[in-house]
């Protein structure tokens, strides 16, 4: 019998050791992606630029305003919804965004981490609207806030920066899809850099700032069949010439941007 008890005690110790391994698991940490090639930035701060924030009560973030209805239904309880004002570098309001975040079914704590689907619909007055489709790895953020501060009761030491977006586009970037106006029919990529300034055990997230960086791919022009033939002939005639090549490959697309210094 004592062998059974010793095995059970060993299992408990092993489980704690396993949990510690998961906590310090380097496989699920997020990287620090390069911003090379990104040419537009919008930023926001929390809670100031959140017109509305609501969720099912599981997030360490106060709903805003107080009277907004929580997302209590079982099918949407794990989802959060926000209306955000996005600002230019100089602080002028530039866009309004609806942001919906919900846990990803691909979450797996050993090799992938805690993943969240993070979708945006952004309207820029006078320019149009576009979508941002992202998958974010919030493992590091969750370890620093929910585990360290909420669960273990440690004090928040200093502001920390995160780059949670991990896909679905190349080099761990989000997919941007144009919806209307000058963005219609275009696609691009986005990255978010997020900085938590203050986080408290009781109040949760108290202050944060984020930057969304965008780059739009060059428009792809599709020519009608006749025009394609003419264009081919023109290219053949001009073969060897380098002037006039207006499509330059984007070097930042090659390989993983995170590998860059």
């Amino acid at each position: 019998m004592k062998y059974v008890w010793m095995t059970l005690f060993g299992s408990l110790v092993g489980a704690l050791a396993g949990a510690a391994l998961l906590f310090f698991n380097p496989l699920i940490d997020t990287g620090d992606p390069s911003l090379a090639g990104f040419d537009r930035m919008m930023r926001y701060s929390l809670p100031d630029d959140a017109i509305v924030v609501t969720h099912g009560g599981m997030l360490p973030l106060e709903r805003r305003p107080f009277g907004v209805e929580p997302l209590w239904e079982s099918t949407i309880r794990s989802t959060s919804l926000a209306t955000l004002v996005l600002r230019s570098d100089s602080g002028e309001p530039q866009a309004v965004a609806s942001r919906v975040v919900w846990p990803s079914k691909r979450t797996e704590l050993l090799t992938a981490g805690v993943l969240a689907n993070d979708h945006w619909l952004v309207s820029v007055p006078g320019e149009g609207a576009f979508f941002v489709v992202a998958e974010s790895n919030v493992s590091t953020m969750a370890k620093d806030t929910l585990v360290a501060v909420k669960l273990l009761g440690r004090a928040w030491q200093a502001p920390r920066a995160y780059a949670p977006i991990e896909g679905p586009e190349i080099a761990g970037t989000a997919l941007v899809i144009g919806a209307s106006g000058s963005f219609a029919g275009r696609a691009g990529r986005a990255l978010e850099r997020y900085r938590i300034e203050r986080f408290a055990r009781a109040a949760g997230l108290e202050a944060a700032a984020a930057e969304m960086h965008f780059v739009w791919d060059a428009p792809v022009e599709t020519l009608p069949p006749g025009a394609q033939d003419a264009a081919s002939a023109e290219r053949a005639a001009g073969e060897g010439e380098t002037e006039g090549d207006d499509v330059v490959p984007d070097a930042s697309l090659a390989g993983d941007a995170r590998a860059e210094p």
Partner: protein, 216 residues
Amino acid sequence: MRTAFIVGVLLGIAGILAAARYVPWVGPPRLPSYTSVVANGGRAEEFVIRLPADRISAHGGEAAGLRGGAFPQDTALPEAFAAAPLLVEQFRVRDRDGSVIGIAARHWSQADGDASAAWLLVIPSRGALLMAADGEAPRAVDAAVAAAGGQPGGTWSGETTIELADREGGGKVIGGSGEFESLEGRYSESWIVTGVGESGELKGTIELRTVTYTAG
């Protein structure tokens, strides 16, 4: 005895790591999807929004009319956007049986005189649909209510239907994620307005009908 302890430790570590790897930690409850196959291929599905119960928030400029009244109260767009032709609405979304299955955001705006509308429709257990269409004229719902006998600033009850994505066969499904990834298709959007409340809130139903098929 020591061997039993070591075996226990190994079992404990292996159990936790296996749980981390194989337990499905995330699985939002999923209700049956009421999709039907359409004659020329693809699948059709209808989503419903009931007003005012399903309205989560709404913010718009003057051009948005009735729909642009700030909700919840005491919230507002920045002053810089007060005169902008812009309307941001967020709703709960139901299936045709009336069960809440997701969340949607609708943005309406005008750029260079051309109005456009876009929907981000998220069903957490399935994924997201991204949709866009030519937008309605400014104050389109106000005009329809007025045509049905409603007075500006007053309450009204009756019924009027406004088709908001009816040009060139409807709006476009331009992308998606999860189950909706690699889908394209079309959608139509009907606002069946049955009343205007004392605080200007609309009563009625929004019906979104999608027909999607695999891209390519």
